[in-house]
């Protein structure tokens, strides 16, 4: 864990992003600690997605710095970010429906057994380890061989989150993980986010529903017009305050 003297996993300082003359993000600063859930809230077009894409290496910032575990870091690509432990789970892109849970879980990281010059998939190990991981994150009723197409939206998110955690995710970025989910499924996804948090993973959560995000987040970073309007501890800001801020009142 190297230089975690400051105890901060990710810190962004004065981050900005321009597309030509359009300023998408200006002077954004916030940080996340291990085992902390930061809710990133803001209206549509406020700059949340741009901020996320800078942190996961998809865009390069126009200005400002990103500190990863205390060190200034240039994120060159999503692959580079992923190799550091910055994992993003998107709503629809996360899983292959036609493959089983286990085959999705180990996609591009499949365990193999070497037999002379050829490597064969270790299907047994893939299934057993997937079952173990599913139990670890609190999903006890799914068979690893089930095709993902059979899962509910909440279960899909759960599997996608479990996957990133298992493969060394230290910072999990969740973009609207519950936007298409029922109340019950949302609770399930949140309980898995809590499980992952309890294991020391940092979470940045983008969420539209102020009640949900206030419920689960430890800190709330409010983005408005490409700026950080405020960075609040949960206790210092209520759901009503958040809604008022977002609606534009000062």
């Amino acid at each position: 864990m190297g230089s975690e003297t400051s105890g901060v996993r990710l810190e962004v300082r004065n981050l900005s992003k321009r597309f030509g003359s359009v300023v998408a993000l200006e002077d954004v600063s916030f940080s996340v600690r291990p085992g902390e859930i930061a809710g990133l809230v803001g209206d549509n077009g406020a700059g949340k997605s741009t901020a996320i894409k800078l942190i996961c290496g998809y865009y390069r910032p126009s200005g400002g710095t990103i500190l990863w575990e205390g060190a200034v870091t240039e994120l060159e690509s999503p692959e580079h970010a992923r190799s550091l432990g910055i994992q993003t789970v998107y709503q629809d892109l996360a899983l292959v429906n036609t493959l089983s849970i286990a085959r999705n879980f180990f996609l591009h990281a499949e365990p193999v057994r070497r037999l002379g010059p050829v490597s064969f998939l270790n299907v047994k190990e893939m299934n057993e380890r997937t079952a173990q991981i599913l139990r670890d994150i609190g999903i006890k009723d799914l068979n690893p061989t089930t095709p993902v197409s059979a899962l509910s939206g909440g279960e899909r998110q759960a599997v996608a989150i479990g996957r990133t955690y298992y493969f060394g995710g230290k910072l999990l970025i969740l973009d609207e993980p519950t936007s298409a989910l029922s109340v019950k499924q949302t609770q399930k996804v949140f309980s898995i986010i809590q499980e992952v948090k309890a294991k020391g993973v940092s979470v940045i959560l983008i969420e539209h529903n102020m009640i949900h995000v206030h419920d689960i987040a430890d800190r709330l970073v409010v983005v408005r017009h490409g700026n950080v309007y405020g960075d609040y501890a949960k206790a210092d800001v209520g759901v009503a305050d958040l809604e008022r801020i977002l609606a534009g009142a000062r």
Binding site: L95, T98, L121, D141, N143
Partner: protein, 337 residues
């Protein structure tokens, strides 16, 4: 947050799939049922001839020629692409091997190796064009189908092109073994087994399914999606060349007009065998059995004394029934935990 814990009680959502689930999830189920029906039908219609050694040999030999193309085609369909040009590739490669070994004076083995390199390169070119232009492969290979068909006619000047008579290598690849049985059957089965293992038991196989099912999700975890698709295109090219070798072994020559139905038949065999046209699901074994089914219908109709043009009608009807049943099964399987 007790909603998860609440489900600790034995739930109907099982930790072990039921026997019923496991049976319905077998992608080859449909084609096996169809084979059974067709065999019973023709045994009744042509009792003495249909199960004769000669007919079984003839059916398997015809299956090998179509089925080896179906092995590649099913993998390409699973990867989410098509190759309509496979028949032109087949004819072009067969003629190229013939010309290289006779007019060109090359040793047969050199001509064969060069021929397979040509057919693989044609497949890779289809892939490169499709991936590079982002145009659907159905369109790009429709174009290359005509391009290579034209070049085949130009190269052969419209005539049959023979290979050297009694060449031992050609005999090993596709020579007669008696009872209408040809060596190609063994090569086909061997290639099929390798392909089945590749698809089901290797990382590359997992990536092929993933790329066909959701290329973006596969890319997001680092699967080199374009290279996986390119591999599948190259593979279809390679098996088109192998299919041409089988024909050279059986007949000693290749005609420029041969193979013009090969792509559609290979796609039909793949679909009958359980491949989803949308990609991401299917079976090499199913496609091989689909090729057997189609060859069986062809020879069965002849033996039963029916005019052979019924073959197309039969196969067409089976393709439609197969797609309807496969789609409804896969929709149901998709919902089953």
């Amino acid at each position: 947050m007790s909603s998860v814990e609440e489900r600790d009680a034995p739930s109907p959502r099982l930790n072990r799939p039921s026997l019923m689930h496991r049976i319905v999830r077998v992608p080859e189920l449909m084609v096996l049922a169809a084979l059974l029906i067709v065999i019973i039908f023709f045994v009744i219609m042509a009792p003495t001839t249909f199960l004769s050694a000669r007919n079984i040999g003839a059916v398997l030999t015809a299956s090998a020629q179509l089925g080896v193309a179906a092995v590649g085609m099913s993998i390409l369909i699973i990867a989410g692409e098509f190759d309509i040009s496979v028949g032109s590739n087949y004819a072009f490669t067969g003629i190229a091997i013939g010309l290289l070994s006779t007019t060109g004076g090359l040793p047969t083995w050199v001509a064969v190796v060069l021929g397979l390199l040509i057919s693989t390169a044609i497949g890779l070119a289809n892939g490169a064009i499709t991936i590079g232009t982002k145009i659907p492969s159905f369109i790009t290979t429709l174009g290359t189908w005509l391009v290579w068909f034209g070049l085949t006619l130009a190269l052969s000047k419209g005539y049959f092109v023979p290979v050297k008579a009694n060449d031992p290598l050609i005999a090993v690849i596709g020579g007669a073994l008696g009872y209408q049985f040809y060596a190609s059957v063994f090569w086909w089965v061997g290639i099929g087994i390798i392909a089945i293992i590749l698809l089901g038991r290797t990382r590359l196989g997992n990536w092929i399914f993933a790329v066909g099912g959701n290329a973006e999700a596969a890319r997001a975890v680092g699967v080199p999606a374009n290279r996986v698709k390119l591999f599948a295109f190259g593979l279809v090219g390679l098996v088109a060349g192998i299919s041409a070798l089988f024909t050279l072994g059986q007949q000693g020559s290749m005609a420029p007009l041969y193979g013009q139905n090969l792509a559609m038949q290979a796609i039909a065999a793949s679909v009958i065998g359980g491949c989803l046209l949308s990609g991401g699901a299917g079976s090499v074994l199913g496609a091989m059995l689909g090729a057997v089914l189609m060859s069986m219908i062809n020879s069965g109709l002849i033996l039963a004394g029916a005019p052979t043009f019924w073959y197309q009608t039969f196969v067409g009807a089976i393709v439609i029934v197969a797609v309807v049943i496969n789609t409804s099964i896969s929709r149901r399987v998709a919902q089953m935990k």
